[in-house]
Structures are given as C-alpha cells and as structure tokens.
Amino acid sequence: MTLKGGLGSPLRSGDLDGVETETIAQIVLNGVPGKPMPPWRGLLSEAEAGWIAATLKAGDYE
C-alpha cells in the first residue's frame, strides 16, 4: 500500500496534518456520505478504528 490515494484521498501522515486522530476514526466508522468511503461500523470496533487512525497519523505504514 502506498497510501497515495486513488479515487479517494491520500492518507500519508503529511496529508493528515491538521486532521484530529478522533476525526479520522469517525470517518472510518461512519464513512463519507456521497463518497465511495463506506462506514466500517459493524465490521470494526471503536478501538480498531482508533488504532487505524493513530497508525495513519504516525505514518507507521509508509
């Protein structure tokens, strides 16, 4: 994964400056209405979404 985005937005830590970790976690859980990002609530827990958000912010997967 390059996290550079495709139809959706890039998700490297530099791209997420100014976005709170909690906001990212909420996007993972609730999706983005009108965009291809689906809500993952039901498949992911709050804790799992929080881990994904923190990992993206930290750039641990780049």
């Binding site: 390059t2 550079k4 985005g5 139809l7 291809p36 689906p38 993952w40």
Partner: protein
C-alpha cells in the same frame, strides 16, 4: 529411427538444463499467462498446461490493483501498475523488455485492435497517455480537462474499441470520451457529456459494441452504443446501484465481470448479496440471484453455461458457481481468505483462483470442481492468461 529418437531426447535433456537460466525456448506462448504478486512488485509467468510457475520477475513497482493486456502474438504482457509504471514483460525470455514510469497514479490500460498502441488511464495527472507498443515511446497525451478553468479529471474504465479507438470515462467530470486513432497524427476526440455522477468503472461488451459505465454517485448505468452515429449516452438499468436503503458498499464490483451467458448478462449488484440477470438486447433486468455476499467478479465460463462469483470482505473466502439455465447456485468452494481473482483457461476446462492471504493460486476443474493443482505465490492478485490478446476489451 531409434537413433534419431535418442538424439532428440538428448537434445530435450540439454534444453531443460538451460531452462532454469531463462534461455528462450522453442515454444508457443498461447498457454502462458501471468499472476501479479501485488505486495512484492513482482509478476510470475505461468504455464497453464503444466500448471507451473516458469519464472517470477521483480522490479515492477506498486502492483496493487494491477492489470495486464497482451500483444497480438501473445509474447508480451503489458502490466499497468498503480504507481504509473508501464512494464512490457517478455514471456519467452522471461524478462522485462521495456519499462516506463509514465504518471504518478494510474489505473489500468488497453491495447489497440492492431496491437500498435498501448493506452494507460491515469488519476494523477488526470488523463490518458498512449504509447508505441514496441518501444513504449509516447505517441499521444490526452489530458482529461473539463470545466471553464481546465481542471483535470481522474480517468477510469479505459478499454479498446474496434477501429483503433479507445473509450474511457472521466470520474470527476461525468463524461465519456472516445479517442479515435484510425487516421495518422493526433487522435480525434469525441466528448460525451452528462454520463452521470461519479462514474467509477466501465466495460465494453465482447463484441466491442456497447460501452457501459457504472455510477457511484447515483443509481443506473451510462450506456453508449458504438454502432450509433452520432454516438449518444443513454441510461440503462435505472435501479442499478445502492437503491433507497443505501447499504454500505465495501468493495465496488468490477464491471469487467459482466458475464455474458445464455442470452443474458449476469452482473454483480452493488451493495447487495445479489447477481442481476439482464437481457442482452433490451438491457432490462429479467431476474436476480441471491448469493453469499456482495459480489466482486461474476465471470462466465467461456461456454457460458456457468458463472463463477467471488465476494467482498467479509465473505471473500468463498466462490460460488451459478448454473445459467436454472439461475441457481449449484456449488460452493472455500479456497480461503481473500479470493481476489479468477481466470478461466481459454476454452474453460480449468479455472485459476488467487487466494491472497494463503499465498497461493488454486486450480480447479471447471466441470467437476475438483482441485487440480496449487501454486505457491506471494500475495497473488490478478491472473491474466495470454489468450486475452484475442479478445476485445480485455
């Protein structure tokens, strides 16, 4: 005669000693193919007769969501990487013949009907670039500009069409463009407006006549009939999409997987565990088939008697087989987590299934469903056999 046989087998023995060193062998490539190892930037050349891996080639960059087309002589595979890499792989010599990094962020490509042009669909910078199939030199650059301030749109759903044409769709602009290379020099571009909101993928039917784009932003599909003059966009299958319930869609289905079988298209519904049955002439829905999960690919066995289906997370460990005359699920396989792709041998006696999380490709008899073989590959995704060279839109 016996002496001749002895010499021949000796020659074969010598020949096989060199096989490991990837010396070009005297052989055809019609039963070869490639499998993408998405995590390693590698493609493996496979022999579908021997059910074996001939060689894996590294250095192709980011191959997540990679796809490939083949030269007319079936010797070369053109691999489209996610990072803008376009790589020409020599199946005979088992090496990279040419490679260019042609954009920053790409999604798929196509080869012209005469085999001379390779087109690549780019997200960034948005547009289509066209290359000489021999040298990979740039032939044409088609920026997907739209609006008064000349913004550039991401392009999706790029296919070849008869008459040295390419057809593609502008995700941000909601337009379908036809680039006609039949005359020398610059291509003639036809822009069709008002395709709909957020077209995300498209397909062309196997006869090269109907181009159909899926819309993320609304229900229904945009359709053009390339036999029309002038070509115009119409809307088909008004109910196709998420519908009123707006269920979450974890993986948009691939439109390439519109299976043509028994007078109908059998295609994945969006966000629902169903396949839709659609009349090939009227494009009206005539039925639906409930399946195990949200379908990703619905692929017809080449004779059209069966359709094989895989699914989105969390049901992606399963493959179901539909019997076309009865429109019923007649068999289910559990190859394991993350079944990403399926490819039939050209006349459909076997099917190869990539199982990413088990690091293997499984090979099934497409009639008895017995497993015929298994190959160890690292995180396999797309499987592309060289017989695609002879099919429009693949």
């Amino acid at each position: 005669m016996r002496l001749l046989g002895l010499i021949t087998s000796f020659a074969v023995l010598i020949g096989s000693c060199f096989a490991g060193a990837a010396q070009p062998q005297m052989r055809g490539t019609g039963d070869l193919g490639i499998v993408i190892e998405r995590a390693d930037g590698s493609v493996c050349i496979v022999d579908t007769s021997a059910r074996s891996i001939l060689s894996c080639i590294e250095g192709l960059g980011d191959l997540s969501h990679a796809s490939a087309v083949f030269s007319r002589d079936q010797r070369y595979a053109y691999v489209f990487g996610r990072d803008g890499g376009l790589t020409k792989v020599d199946l005979l010599e088992q090496k990279i013949a040419e490679r260019v990094l042609q954009a920053g962020n790409s999604i798929g490509g196509a080869i012209s009907d005469d085999g001379r042009l390779i087109a690549v669909s780019n997200y960034e910078p948005g547009g289509v670039k066209v290359f000489d199939a021999d040298t990979l030199d740039l032939v044409a650059d088609i920026p997907a500009t739209y609006g008064s301030d000349e913004q550039r749109s991401k392009t999706v759903g790029l296919v070849d069409a008869p008459g040295r044409r390419f057809v593609f769709t502008l995700y941000d602009a909601g337009e379908i463009w036809i680039a006609d290379f039949s005359a020398d020099g610059e291509p003639a571009i036809t822009r069709l407006h008002h395709a709909g909101k957020q077209p995300y993928d498209a397909l062309i039917t196997g006869d090269g006549r109907h181009y159909i784009a899926g819309l993320f932003g609304e229900d229904g599909l945009a359709h053009i009939d390339l036999w029309d003059n002038p070509v115009t966009i119409s809307r088909i299958l008004d109910g196709y999409g998420k519908g009123e319930e707006k269920l979450p869609v974890y993986k948009m289905p691939h439109l390439e997987g519109w299976a043509l079988a028994g007078g109908s298209f059998i295609l994945p519904a969006v966000g629902r565990p169903d396949l839709l049955v659609v009349d090939v002439r009227t494009f009206e829905q005539t039925g639906q088939i409930e399946v195990h999960g949200q379908p990703v690919f619905a692929i017809a066995r080449p004779d059209g008697r069966q359709v094989w289906v895989n699914f989105a997370h969390p049901f992606n460990d399963t493959v179901q087989i539909i019997d076309v005359p009865s429109l019923k699920v007649i068999h289910e396989l559990k190859p394991g987590p993350a079944v990403l792709h399926m490819e039939f041998t050209p006349r459909g006696h076997e099917v190869w299934v990539s199982v990413r999380d088990s690091d293997k490709v499984e090979i099934y008899d497409a009639r008895t469903f017995e497993k015929r073989g298994e190959l160890k590959l690292r995180k396999p995704s797309g499987i592309f056999f060289s017989a695609r060279a002879n099919r429009i839109g693949l």
